[in-house]
Symmetry: C2
Subunit: 454 residues, 2 copies
């Protein structure tokens, strides 16, 4: 927590009675995973891979009996595949046929929340300070307070519980830009808002007990009890599929769409990265060389005007005034150009960064699915070896069908959100771009009016 | 003329009877000072210094008796200063008081000409080819043909005759840009047009016999006779002042404005160079990295659209079509951005290059003037030494007054043209810039219309 050099050997700092310990570098937040970065929209800030590495170490995975060879890192779907499940009332996650195919059950009113009003709090007589955000769900309209580490706790629970079936995008952490504390906090809040809104929009996640606890706890006691309960939740990892109950005919194990999904998410990941890279380049150009160049153009016109002013020629003033105004206009354009990325590119970049994070989770989700398919393919062989019964095999096929429907429902959820997000994004971007070009044209037109036709 | 390596010692190529001489590198123009450059609008292409170096070696300067010490390179004004002049009818160059001070006598109708229709001609059975331009003055509307070397001949005559009193801007030659013959010819023609128009606008130059000959000769014979006559003209160098006849009271030799003029032209020279430098930078950015970047943005949107198209999700087409259109729009913007400098910056650069050339001639013109002032300052001393009479001194003062009026008239001519040129230039530049931003805004607006509000 504090910057000090530990003693060699024991990694501790010995303080003897009577010594005065002066803390010179006080950290403003006690969240340990709170790395700041000043890198802007670099191409490599979202960690590759996604969530499964984090979920990989969880106890569920260790429960796997591993009757099949060759699985070490991927969560083993076997523990789910071999059991006959009847989903219970409260936790049941139905899948219906919608217009676009299998879909999750969406609530009548969509949950959403506002993350706002970051406040500095402190503990330990001011030695530890942290930022607390106010989170207000649209259902209760009653705000709850959360520190970054609470969001991180929620993320950990969601990964444990859902990541085998649903891509859970990383929390914004190391991606955060901003050289100043205020800027950093604002950016983090904006990204936490984006993350929370995405979670709220997901019918499975938003309806889960742990997510509801996070948004609706009434007091410290309820929060602590809820936390303990959530940490003891046993329906985690591949077991989540046992809650899923497709109200649809069983799928033929041979008809799997995962390859198409895998292909799509990989292609989109590449495309999103390309857009981020060119956006990053454009951002740098606008705030760097382009701003500088328009300033120089502005200065050059103003300098010429200053020189003309010294001519002592009697018919000078109309031109010099117009020239000065032109120079100032180009200086204004320089600032408009430099500010523009914040107005349009920012949202485009943020949304694509979010998608980059989300897309990074799909390979893991799809790998679980692929592992299940492979197990079912091997089932006949394993039956022959008398390790499982013919009945087990039918259960496996039924369960694989459930996993397939879950993947399809999730992909349809993803596609629907994607179309909505990118449509909104592009409209917003183009609107701001149109305003940008119109503003400059308007300014130049006004300046042009200052010249007289001779 | 032809590329060959001369024999050591005599710089010749010996061809013996029976040998075959194969010309492998045929030049397309026989103008010897016809250097091409591909450098675009670099900062150092107009040679510094101006015209006087060229005029420096002329016979007039050698006529100087050099009664005063310390002049070697600057044309010596003494030959003019010491003689009493009465300007003759035809060649007389009056100076009047205009609204802005001393001015040349301007003609009722301003002379102008059109340089157009470049044609390839050839001599020596096709071995020598050259470009001939058609020059049509507005007075006769009758075209005459001239090759580049004729323009150069005219330039030499104008420098000899007028450069002590009037800045004669260099002909466009080494500045010419263009990697292709056609582009090169077009650019040279455009610049010859600019140079001719500037010469036509000058009341002293346009009215001179040599300039009239260049525009109005009726046949080869008249041209050749006129050429010979012009080459034998004796009123050249500082003698041109003897034709100048200010109809104004004699000026006090102590009241000289040349320092102000010197300061102004130097400052403007710097300012013009600054504008050229930043313009050059901007040109390169528009046709280089900016074009590339907008193409990349366009490609990124189109790639994303292609990926979306593979989703097999049923509600895809509206977004993908709009996204593709957006991508294509940014590709169009890339081309608009790259073409824009030709539309607006080109004229700004050309005019400033012309002014850079013109401003480079002022130091020499002003130096002649300064030399004359110094001589008159020394006159008292020289009178005491009995080298000149008191009467001579009065003549010198009268002649210096004439030189001063000439410089003032010339500066007023310069200022009047400068205000007109820069006013027109800025209006044109801003008009084109407004069009540029409006065109892009319009294109983006149209694309925005393809998105549906969800």
């Amino acid at each position: 927590l504090y910057d000090f050099t530990a003693e060699p050997g024991n990694n501790e700092l010995t303080v003897k009675e009577g010594e005065i310990l002066t803390v010179t570098n006080q950290e403003w937040d006690d969240d340990s995973d709170d790395g700041k970065s000043t890198g802007g929209y670099g191409g490599s800030q979202v960690e590759e891979g996604g969530t499964m590495q984090r979920a990989g170490g969880h106890s569920t995975m260790k429960l796997s009996l591993n009757k099949f060879p060759g699985f070490s890192k991927t969560p083993n779907p076997e523990v789910y595949l071999l059991t006959k499940h009847i989903a219970k009332g409260d936790e049941r996650l139905p899948i219906y046929t919608g217009e676009v195919g299998p879909v999750w059950l969406y609530p009548q009113t969509q949950l959403d929340c506002v993350v706002a009003d970051p406040k500095k709090g402190s503990k330990m007589y001011g030695l530890k300070s942290y930022i607390e955000y106010q989170v207000t769900p649209n259902t209760t309209n009653r705000p709850v307070n959360h520190r970054y580490k609470h969001f991180d706790w929620l993320y950990e629970r969601l990964v444990e519980k859902f990541a085998c079936a649903l891509p859970i995008p990383c929390l914004p952490d190391k991606q955060v830009t901003g050289r100043f504390e205020e800027e950093f906090i604002k950016m983090r809040m904006e990204r936490l808002q984006g993350w929370m809104s995405r979670m709220c929009r997901h019918p499975v996640i938003s309806n889960s007990e742990v997510f509801q606890l996070f948004l609706n706890y009434r007091d410290e006691k309820e929060w602590k009890l809820g936390k303990r309960r959530a940490e003891k939740d046993e329906i985690v990892g591949v077991k989540i599929f046992s809650n899923i109950d497709p109200e649809l005919p069983e799928l033929d194990p041979a008809q799997q769409k995962y390859e198409m999904y895998s292909q799509f998410t990989r292609s989109m990941d590449n495309s999103v990265k390309e857009l981020l890279a060119v956006g990053h380049l454009h951002w740098k150009r606008c705030t760097g060389p382009l701003q500088k160049e328009y300033r120089q153009i502005g200065k050059a016109f103003q300098n010429l005007s200053s020189v003309f002013n010294t001519s002592a020629y009697p018919r000078e003033s109309t031109l010099t005034e117009a020239l000065t105004a032109t120079g100032k206009t180009y200086e204004e354009i320089a600032e408009i150009v430099a500010e523009q990325p914040k107005k349009d590119l920012h949202f485009l970049m943020e949304t694509n960064l979010e998608y980059k994070g989300l897309l990074g989770c799909f390979p893991d989700t799809i790998t679980v699915h692929k592992a299940a398919i492979d197990k079912v393919k091997e089932a006949d062989h394993v039956v022959v070896m008398n390790k499982i019964s013919q009945q087990d095999k039918l259960i496996m096929e039924k369960n694989l069908s459930t996993m397939s429907y879950a993947l399809q429902a999730e992909m349809n959820h993803f596609h629907s959100n994607r179309i909505y997000d990118y449509n909104r994004l592009m409209q917003f971007y183009l609107e701001e771009q149109v305003k940008f070009y119109e503003t400059i044209a308007e300014k130049l037109k006004k300046t042009l009016g200052q010249y007289t036709t001779m």
